[in-house]
Point group: C2
Chain length 208, copies 2
């Protein structure tokens, strides 16, 4: 599992093949199948291993907003360390002990606020959805430049004129200037977006 995580960190998830992991351990492919049943199990182990990095040891802030903010920052940082995590998100990975601990920790932020189970679950679902979307976008955006090196540059050289042509065709009056001039500061939206979500939730809680 550690070997697989190291490979994924260094070369991406695609580089994690049974044969490659085995080679890293000085073994042959089939040896791994003494410990796992399918490759999917290895991915689940990797997933749970990095989930541990989000767990907070010391007590969380009493304020649920502050607590969720802290957990969100840790999750974001974890994904930046292990960008391949986003490729597992839409892959129906079995949840492990650390994943459960993380959910429990998120639930604990509502202790003492008299929030019923259903509401807590819904709040965490909305929070998790926003987080999922954000980290995916951030990770894939950052992956763009380096991932394939020259190959990507080649493709960009072909694709961009095509896009640029479309853009300049006049069909996109609102989008065109944004692409051409760029939108300064557009990629710095994590805290703000999260605040919007939490603001909406808080207003709803106080309103009822």
């Amino acid at each position: 599992m550690a070997a697989a995580v190291a490979i994924a960190d260094a070369e991406g998830l695609a580089a994690v093949s049974i044969r490659r992991v085995a080679a890293e351990l000085g073994a042959r492919a089939m040896t791994l199948y003494s410990y796992i049943e399918r490759k999917e199990d290895l991915l689940a182990l990797m997933h749970d291993a990095i989930a541990a990095e989000v767990l907070v040891d010391e007590p969380l802030p009493d304020d649920w907003r502050e607590a969720l903010l802290l957990l969100a920052r840790r999750e974001r940082e974890m994904v930046l360390r292990h960008p391949w995590r986003v490729e597992l998100i839409s892959q129906r990975i079995e949840v492990g002990p650390n994943g459960l601990r993380h959910v429990e920790q998120k639930l604990s932020v509502f202790d003492g606020f008299g929030i019923d189970r259903l509401t807590a679950w819904r709040i965490l679902a909305a929070y998790a959805d926003y987080m999922t979307g954000f980290v995916i976008r951030e990770a894939t955006d950052r992956r763009a430049p380096r991932e394939q090196g020259i190959n990507d540059a080649e493709r960009a050289a072909v694709a961009e004129p095509y896009i640029r042509e479309l853009i300049e065709g006049g069909e996109f009056p609102r989008l065109a200037p944004m692409i051409q001039e760029g939108v300064r500061g557009a990629d710095d939206n994590f805290e703000r977006g999260l605040s919007w979500v939490l603001d909406g939730i808080e207003a709803d809680l106080h309103g009822r």
Copy 2:
């Protein structure tokens, strides 16, 4: 492209291989490479094809909230029709004409509200992030039962006792009752979560 979409709809994205698509068209594998350069191009075409289904022909509601809500519902329905879309999300697919039209349409909802570019971009980013997270969760949840049939059931039979054991160990006082008794209505959170996001944004706009 249409053949590939049909296969993905019926059997999932994994079933879309070059050979399979070619077979569906009564051709051999290498024939496809007369029209695309890599499989990635085919995926991009599929992605852009279904993006068209989100576009709205008639004028959007004047109220930007109502307009975003309408677009969100259409996007959700589109993903439910083509659940394999979520597997493309974290895959750095080139944006196509319909994708651009969709962005332009989202930008158009702010016409007349005097919202600057940066703010509009940030609002749409937060909106898109929430949508991404939600549709991924919904699609993967729904995929669970059918995807692999017996195989999945087998795995669940092994995995569930393990999870159940963990849960019953007392380490998860908040999570345990939710798993054991379930949380009624927990999966009906789309409109509410989206409202929270939009509420937060709206409050911020009015506050400044």
